[in-house]
Amino acid sequence: MTAIDAPALGSGIGYRPQFRADLFAYRDQIDFVEIIADHYLDASKEKLDELELLKSHFPLVAHGLDLSIGSADGVDPRYLDKVAALIERIDPPWWSEHLCFTRAGGVSIGHLASLPYTQEAIDVVARNVEFVRRRIKTPLILENITCVVRIPGGEMDEPEFLSRTLEATDCGWLCDVANMHVNAMNFGMGAEGEFERWPWDRLVQMHYAGGRERNGVLIDSHDATTSEAVWMLYDRVVARAPVKAVVLERDEKIPPFNELIDEVARARTTMVENGRWR
């Protein structure tokens, strides 16, 4: 079974305006581009021109930040309208959001907050995804996030929570291997059998990135090259499941572009070796 019916996109990069010129100069080495949806919601003419330029040179997918798919009081319909307009404009094969909440009581909390691993949270997400689907037909896929603290009262662990949520919503999975690694480091590795318990049959896209340690805790800061440990996990996932697209996320301390190209090429090699990409 594949989670959604869409063509593979290959090895891409998360777009950041800082490297726009390099992206175009090296565009034959980037298979596709992931844009941050929120950067184009109330966009200036210049941002819209940039979007058109990207669209005419790369396959695009959109990655949202603030839908808050886990909010018990539902998603904000005005925000959803803006996302819908953007999705219509770029017509991607799928779009993604984080399995988390970013607003509570209608107020933005400014970061991606982990949901409690409960059936109640799953029901909320399923209800919200239904609402979103009525507005946006393009398939939505959900990304696993890092957990700062485990919310007490959990009824299950993360692999089960994610699997059951994707089951209940019928969404594909954006597997962020860096986030997976961060959680494994900060909360202890599961038993060896745990790897098989993630919802591999729902895998659509992957994120990988480098992070760093702060006060003994690993954080997904997207400000370093991808670590060997994350690459190992990446290789294992690509070998395990038919991923369609992988994206390098780099937000801070952006190095010379050829270093990013090297990472994108490294990721592509694994895809090719496993028959996931030409």
């Binding site: 726009r20 010129a21 175009f24 100069a25 090296y26 565009r27 940039e50 330029l53 005419s56 040179h57």
Partner: protein
């Protein structure tokens, strides 16, 4: 003619009518010229990964921009320099056989007489030779519909002639009628007609002065959007020794081609912007001094088609 009621309108009312006719003529001229270039029905080609400075320069500003770009290139490589009073002068450095291409060689030749910067734009034999050498590039750009199509030139001429006939014809008819009646107060009408024709020609010029077609403009605009960010970075490295300056050398030509010399203002190489803007009207994308009447002929350079 005295039987035509419109021509018998009292002066102020006739002037209102005349003004209306002029506005319609200008609007029609705008539409004709604008619709003659429908190359933007197709989206522009993808931006090149390694932009060709000469292609960009030619598209952006015709032969003038090519001359600017070549001069900057030769100066960067130490073959020419700028002297007092905007004179472009050759240096001691002699090119090795094969070191310069044909266009660079020709320009270096033109510089031997130490001309003032803007005089280079007026050097007809230089322009002719450069155009010959640019012919393959020009053909390639034309095949991609990036250069203004011939139809623009044809429609511009039609709009100019047709518009002038209507404006002048109407004015003359009124003058004739007034003269028959024995009144001679037509000075204002004469002035208005002359001014209207001037505006018509100015409009036609503005609409057709650039070399690039609408598709070509979209292409240049996409390149600016894609690579413009490099400009800031590159400008920051001007005059600094070391690898950044050399890296700029590569990007510089492309950026000069795209923007002209204007971005160099305020850098150690500002003299280029100054030397070429004095007497040339603009250091950027617009015409140089040689525009004159021929400038509209399919490009900023007045180089014919």
């Amino acid at each position: 003619m005295q039987n035509i009621p419109l021509l018998n309108l009292p002066g102020p009312e006739f002037l209102n009518f005349f003004g209306l006719v002029v506005i319609i003529v200008l609007a029609a001229a705008y539409l004709c010229i604008r619709l003659a270039d429908r190359t933007d029905r197709r989206p522009p080609p993808p931006v090149p990964q390694n932009p060709d400075a000469m292609e960009v320069a030619f598209l952006q500003g015709g032969v003038n921009q090519v001359i600017r770009t070549l001069i900057y290139d030769l100066a960067q490589r130490g073959f020419v320099g700028l002297a007092a009073e905007d004179h472009v002068v050759p240096t001691e450095k002699q090119p090795q056989p094969g070191e310069l291409n044909a266009m660079e060689t020709r320009l270096l030749e033109a510089v031997q007489t130490k001309p003032k910067a803007h005089k280079l734009f007026e050097d007809l034999s230089l322009r002719r030779r450069l155009l010959e050498l640019l012919a393959p590039l020009r053909a390639k750009l034309a095949a991609e519909e990036l250069i203004k199509p011939q139809s623009v030139k044809i429609w511009r001429r039609r709009a100019q002639i047709g518009g002038t006939l209507i404006i002048v014809g109407l004015a003359l008819a009124k003058i004739y009628v007034e003269w028959e009646k024995g009144s001679a107060n037509v000075a204002y009408l004469v002035f208005l007609a002359a001014a209207s024709v001037a505006v018509l020609f100015a409009l036609a010029y503005v609409l057709t002065r650039t070399h690039a077609s609408r598709r070509g403009h979209a292409y240049l605009e996409a390149m600016r959007l894609a690579y413009g960010g490099r400009l800031k970075e590159a400008i920051g490295h001007i005059g600094s020794p070391g690898p950044e300056a050399r890296a700029f050398g590569g990007a510089a030509l492309f950026l000069i081609g795209l923007y002209g010399f204007s971005p160099l203002k305020g850098t150690t190489e500002a003299m280029f912007a100054e030397a070429f803007s004095r007497g040339s009207g603009s250091a950027g994308a617009d015409c140089g001094t040689s525009c004159g009447g021929s400038c509209g002929d399919g490009g900023a350079s007045g180089d014919g088609d």
